[in-house]
Amino acid sequence: MRKTKKRVWIGTGNDFITLPLILITILVFVPMIMALITAFQSGPPLNMKFNGFGNFARMLTDSTFKKAFGNTFLYLIVQVPIMLFLALVFSSMLNDTKLKFRGFFRTALFLPCITSLVSYSLIMKTLFADAGLINQILGTQIHWLTDPVFAKILIIIAITWRWTGYNMIFYIAGMQNISPDIYEAADIDGATKTQQLFKITIPNLKPIILFTTITSTIGTLQLFDEVKNITNGGPANSTITLSHYIYNLSFNFGKPNFGYAAAVSFVIVICIVVLSLIQNKVVGNE
């Protein structure tokens, strides 16, 4: 009996996945469990003690955590729909076979995605500085980087610029799978371009829209580089995100608090799981 069992595991190609399995266990699963254990501890890093749900209770009264949580969801609720809608509009415009210089426009819109996160953040920061180009063009005196409201708007503008093209590529790929016959029939029936977008393109793209919504949601919940580099969470934590707060808790202060940081990171995990489930339910369940 035992022998046959062994045979089934080794010798059917499973040997090839054994090593990755061991590696992923050591490098991903074990650290995850250790992080979960850390989330229930507190104290100096070399002498951590269990404190039950202390870290989670602390979140309920921690104003900075609430701020980070609120900001992260603000970015999510405001930015993701804007970005995905823009991506849809751009992609349906670029999918038009009669459009000239299609390749050029596609490249231009996709280019932001291949720039490094840090370098584009620094350029945004320069453009939106008090004496920067944007204020000069608009003829305004807006403190983009140091006003709590405008700093948030700036972050949203920045990430929208960076990620719209990325999502657009998925939509273009999806649109090429929609049969041109449907559009032709719609044209004959006298449907306008806008009607075609909402009645034909969007329903047909449903699975792809779901996919981009989930990846964008995860991306926004993990938002870090832009905030760290453009405003550094400021002014006074008014643009801070959960990931940035975790970074601050672990590395930025002289006295690190890994237990609390791990607890906050599990909140992100839970949020991502819950949101993905909801989106799956709302958009459809294939």
Binding site: P45, G54, T61, D62, N232, N237, N252, F253, P256, N257
Partner: protein
């Protein structure tokens, strides 16, 4: 059976490839070790920030003292990177890859010393407590053991452009012995008459509030370094009020980061900067502005008996990581340079404008010299006089944790909320933050 053997063979091969590459790595490093032994020299690594200041200081120190046993190598790194690397390495309990000597800011060191009690070497044997400014020992000691060699003073002053203030009708005497309220009025007049902001301010950085608070001998926490004293702290409330007023009245230029502040000074858009004396190397970096600057003591708090014109921002010390092979060499290097050499302090005074916390440094020649850049003012002498009056406070372990929270409450005060109420809330919030 054959397949199984093949699989095993593959697995063994993979494992061996891994271990061989690992061996290759360690072989190399031991090679380089023996190389350096052949030439009879080990390396002592130093991590520090600021090329114009701290790095130059170590380079000068190397000229003063060199040993046949080891070479000293300086690595420039931003302070953020140093903080992050120390945290990750020390938390893992491993000192691999850390330098023997590291520069740590006064505000942060207590956090390290208490979080990682065995990570730093005891330097009591080479540091003479009587030889340095006493306020430095409020931060680098734990239970009578001295862990750091005090380095630069953070004594504060108001660096200002004589031409801009002159245009607004203020001479040098107008900035002597004033209160912050009067200073605010000066700022308004300067803005009105010259169009220049008085100085630049980053709304996330409460350095100015810290300076005002320390000038009256108080801090976010009490002398024990733990009890939070945010509520019922008149000096703090006064400082925050002034800070908020500067922003509300628009007489300061808002910047988003450190470089923005440096840029504001060097491009000539602001009339001054209230900063620690180490900022001098940045100000003198703009050669074309020579002769246009002077330094005044900071204003003081109105109606406070303990108020002084002396305070401190920043300042740092040298620390030695324990348990590294070069530990003794590192201690030997510090012993012969930063811990004892007045010659070095004199050289650094001329080279980088260092205001040393070593008492004997004030008697060296460069401290008596007039400074061309600052319109002939005896800058170092003035600073070292102010330095003796800096009130001692224990920065505790949580300065930056507290400040991150405080910045949010200061924003509320700028938005017009009542100071006392906001500080009461802040007290509660900070207490919860530092509790575990």
């Amino acid at each position: 059976m054959k397949k199984r053997l093949l699989g095993l063979l593959l697995a063994v091969m993979v494992v061996f490839t891994f271990s061989f590459t690992a061996c290759g790595g360690s072989d190399k490093s031991s090679d380089s070790d023996s190389d350096s032994k052949d030439s009879g020299k080990k390396t002592v690594n130093v991590w520090a920030w600021d090329e114009t200041f701290n790095i130059k200081a170590v380079e000068e120190a190397k000229k003063v003292y060199s040993s046949d046993d080891y070479d000293v190598k300086v690595v420039t790194m931003s302070q953020d990177d140093i903080v992050q690397k120390l945290n990750t390495s020390l938390a893992s309990g491993s000192t691999d890859g850390l330098p023997e000597i590291v520069l740590i800011e006064d505000y942060r060191i207590q956090g390290y010393l208490t979080s990682y009690p065995d990570a730093f070497a005891d330097l009591s044997s080479i540091v003479d407590e009587d030889a340095f400014s006493p306020y430095k020992f409020a931060v680098n000691k734990v239970d009578d053991k001295i862990y750091g060699v005090p380095f630069d003073s953070g004594v504060t002053g108001f660096f200002y452009r004589t031409d801009y203030l002159g245009d607004a009708g203020y001479d040098d005497a107008a900035l002597q012995d004033i209160t912050w309220d009067e200073f605010l009025e000066i700022g308004k007049a300067v803005k009105e008459k010259t169009g220049h902001a008085l100085f630049s301010l980053n709304p996330s950085d409460l350095g100015l509030v810290r300076a005002i608070m320390q000038s009256a001998g108080t801090w976010y926490n009490a002398e024990d370094g733990e009890t939070i004293t945010i509520d019922n702290n008149p000096a703090l409330a006064y400082g925050i009020n002034i800070y908020a007023q500067f922003l509300k009245d628009g007489i300061v230029e808002q910047v988003a980061d450190w470089d923005g502040g440096v840029n504001a000074v060097q491009s000539g858009s602001v009339a001054g900067s209230p900063q620690g004396c180490w900022y001098s190397s940045t100000i003198t970096g703009a050669d074309d502005q020579s002769g246009k600057w002077r330094i005044a003591p900071l204003p003081k708090i109105a109606n406070d008996a303990k108020a002084t014109h002396s305070s401190s921002i920043g300042g740092a010390g040298w620390y030695v990581i324990k348990g590294l092979p070069g530990e003794e060499n590192a201690i030997d290097f510090l012993d012969n340079t930063f811990a004892s050499s007045t010659d070095l302090m004199a050289t650094l005074a001329t080279e980088i404008g260092l205001v040393s916390t070593m008492k004997a440094a004030a008697d060296t020649a460069p401290y008596q010299e007039a400074n061309e850049f600052y319109s002939g003012q005896k800058v170092l002498e003035d600073f070292s006089k102010l330095s003796t009056g800096v009130p001692e406070v224990n920065y505790g372990q949580n300065t930056y944790v507290i400040e991150s929270v405080m910045a949010e409450y200061v924003q509320q005060i700028i938005d017009g909320k009542d100071v006392d109420k906001v500080l009461k809330e802040a007290q509660k919030q900070v207490e919860a933050q530092v509790a575990n």
